[in-house]
Each structure stands twice: as structure tokens, then as C-alpha cells.
Symmetry: C2
Subunit: 231 residues, 2 copies
DNA sequence: GTCTATAACCGGATAGAC
DNA sequence: GTCTATCCGGTTATAGAC
């Protein structure tokens, strides 16, 4: 059962060959002609399945993210501690991506180019993004987290942005097993949780800080939402 | 006096024509053939002066930054307040860049691609970077700033990274006169100054936070230093 | 309609003649 | 220093095969 159709077989062949070449020679250095030829099809065929070279990478990212979200359920079931949940989910994400860390550089390098479909913040990735933010929301729901009311709405977005920052940092991190990112993750996540707790206490200047957090979050979502295709 | 040589005239011609076209039609949409033809030279001639299309943008960025640093002296002379000094220097930077904000998008979009010469973090920009960090150091020297000793060495780098973040945010900011960035700048700079003051006080968890700041700064400089050319 | 193959287009970049 | 001719690779158009 679940034999792949000939079409799907070709598609998969192109994908795996592409990923392989990208990993081996780098993204820019692998031409579509190369990929098609190695996969035993014509250039046109490769373009029939994937409109742009970048879509080969995008497909990989999509699959990994889908797999990640499936496994989130189990992480949530284990504990009510928000810090533990979020930490485990981020680790899950990194683990799933780890075989392709070098390839993820393509996403990272183009991350700030929202017009480029391969950026995690592009329109093409909107679905993944919405889903990922929903995922963070699931982590929050039913956890022990308590925050200032003004943060409630934007919290999933903020935390997702933080998660993305960690993933991008990890992508560039050349220390063995990315231990520097691991260290930073532990320290920074703890700090975030402390700050969220503090957000409930009366503190001088609290208003200004909350205002700042809101303004930067709104700018970030603005910019991302505005992300448009190449003209 | 100071008549430009014929060679320099051609160079300048290509530059201005390029900048014009970029502003009018966008960077990707303006081909080198276009630029060369409009400037009245052959494609090869344009490439004789600028190895890559991106170098046309880079040259603009270099010139603006050089002009900025010249004017820093005057800002420093006006006050000893670190907050005021740094604020004014950032404003100076934004003002100088403002005629080319759209063009600066090319830098911003490629900022995370350190292999791309147009990224503010590329090897090609190392000189500008070192100089800019030195500039921040000048602002610190003789100001009223006081910070925890463990931050002293890395402070110029941290603050320069913050400055870059503001410039990049500003580049994307489509609110009128980039007032959203302006608002965020005021709030965040004030917060930074407060945090620097606090860094001198005994506070629970201070060690962890300082450690975190150091670890992320060292990662950032690592990654940037490692920035290499396209293979 | 689903897929494949070939040729062509476009633009960044280079080589080498003058 | 300037030009022409050329390469190279992403992408598209097109013509057909199944």
C-alpha cells in the first residue's frame, strides 16, 4: 500500500537529489541542471515540479516543521511548567533540523529578505508561521504561566520570534554540537520566564517597558505581514 | 582645482546613474547592462570599475558612513551625557541615510548573508565596522557612563550592534517619517542606559545575566569575524 | 489533463582584443 | 581603460508524448 505514483516518485527523486547536492556543494553551487541530470530527468521536468530552486529547500523546511508540530502534543502532556515545555519544543525543533543545519543556512541568510520565498518570514511561509504561533499558544494554554494582561495577546508572537531567533543563531553556530547556542538558550529562556513573572509586579518604569515591547512586536508583525512577493 | 581625472569622471558617472536607476526601478530590476548603457559605457567598462553590482551600493554606504563619522566630533563636544550623545549620533546616521532609505533595503535584506559583500557584516565591510565601533568608543570616552567592569570591553561592540539593529529596523519601517522606529529608539535607549546603571548594583541573578550578555556578544562577533567571501 | 524534453531568454560576470 | 564576445546558471516557452 501507499506505493507512490510515478509522478510522486520523480518528485521525491528530485527532492532528495537536490537536498544531497545542496548539502555537498552548497546551495548556490548546485545548479538546477546538475540536480535534474543527477536525478535522471530534464531541466524542464525539475521546473515542472518546483517553480523555483528555493522551493526545494522550502519543501524540506515544511516537512520538518509539520513533523515537529505533531510531536509537540507529547511534550505538552509531560509537564505543566511553561519553561520546561518551551525548552523541550525548541530542542525538538533543533533536533529535527540538525541533519540539515548547513542547508538551513540558505533560509537564515535570506531571512531578512521577506520578498524571497525561502525566508521564514515570506508570504509563502505564512501558513507555517501561523501554525507555529498556534503551536506556541498550545504550550501556553494550561501551563503555569502568568503574565501582565497587556502582554497576553502578543505573547505567542513574541515567544515565536524568540524561538526563530534561537533557530537562526543555532544555524550559524559553528561550536561543536552548537553548545554555545545551547548555553545561551538555557540562560535566556530562564531570564524570559523571570521577566514574565516580574511583569506582574509593581515596578518603576514598568509602563515604559511594556509599551516598548508592544511597539517592537507590532512593528515586527507589521513588517512581516507586509512581506510581498518579488515584483 | 580638484578636477576629476577622466577615469574618475567615468566612475562617478556610473555610480550616480546606478544609484538613480536603483532608486527608480529597484536593485534587482536594474541590470548592469542598463546602467552601463545609460552611463554611456559598455558593460565591461562598468565591471572594470565595480567588480559586482552590489559594490555600487556598497560605495554609497561607505561614503555616508565616512561623512557620519566626521560629524561625530561635534556631537561629542556638545554634551557629556552618554544617552544624549548616542541618541544624536544615531539620529545623524539616520539623517544621512534617509535620502537612500529604499536603497538601503538591499543591505538590510542581505544583512544575514555574511558572504555577500553588501551585508553590513561582510569582510568587505570590516573597515567600516571597525571604524564604527571605534566611533562608539569615542562616544563612551569622557562621557558620564559607568558600567560593570565585565561589560567594559564588549560595550562598544554591544552598542554598535544595537545601533545597527535600529538602522535596519528603520530601513524596513514604512510609517511616516519612520516615527515608529523613532519611538522605539527613545524607549529602548533609555532602557539600555537604566540597565547599564543597574549593572553596578547588587541584584539577584546578576551573574547569570552578565554571563548571557557576554555569551551572545561573543557568538555575534565570532559569527561576524568568520564572515568569508563566496567560495 | 499529466508529464517530459529541448531550445531559448535574460542578466550577472569574465576574457581577451584593441 | 574600454570594447565585444562569451560563459554560466536561473528561468521560461514550447512542442509534443502518454
Amino acid at each position: 500500500m501507499s506505493k507512490l505514483s510515478k509522478s510522486d516518485q520523480t518528485r521525491e527523486k528530485i527532492l532528495t537529489v537536490g537536498w544531497n547536492l545542496f548539502q555537498k556543494k552548497g546551495f548556490e553551487q548546485s545548479s538546477m541542471r546538475d540536480i535534474a541530470q543527477t536525478a535522471g530527468v530534464a531541466t524542464g521536468a525539475a521546473y515542472y515540479y518546483f517553480k523555483r530552486k528555493e522551493d526545494l529547500v522550502l519543501e524540506l523546511y515544511k516537512r520538518v516543521q509539520a513533523e515537529c508540530e505533531k510531536q509537540t502534543e507529547q511534550v505538552i502532556a509531560k509537564t505543566k511548567s511553561f519553561e520546561k515545555r518551551f525548552y523541550d519544543v525548541i530542542q525538538l525543533n533543533l533536533k529535527q533540523l540538525s541533519p540539515y543545519r548547513k542547508l538551513m543556512l540558505v533560509l537564515a541568510e535570506n531571512s531578512m529578505n521577506f520578498k524571497n520565498s525561502v525566508s521564514p518570514f515570506s508570504v509563502e511561509n505564512k501558513k507555517i508561521r501561523t501554525s507555529a504561533i498556534g503551536n506556541v499558544n498550545k504550550i501556553i494554554q494550561g501551563s503555569n504561566i502568568k503574565v501582565h494582561s497587556s502582554l497576553l495577546n502578543i505573547l505567542p508572537t513574541i515567544l515565536w520570534l524568540y524561538e526563530m531567533a534561537i533557530v537562526l543563531l543555532w544555524t550559524y553556530d559553528s561550536s561543536t554540537h552548537q553548545k554555545k547556542t545551547q548555553q545561551f538558550l538555557k540562560l535566556s529562556l530562564k531570564l524570559i520566564c523571570i521577566l514574565l513573572k516580574i511583569s506582574l509586579l509593581p515596578i518603576p518604569g514598568k509602563k515604559g517597558i511594556l509599551q516598548m515591547v508592544q511597539s517592537i512586536t507590532s512593528m515586527a508583525t507589521d513588517i512581516i505581514q507586509r512581506s510581498y512577493k518579488k515584483p
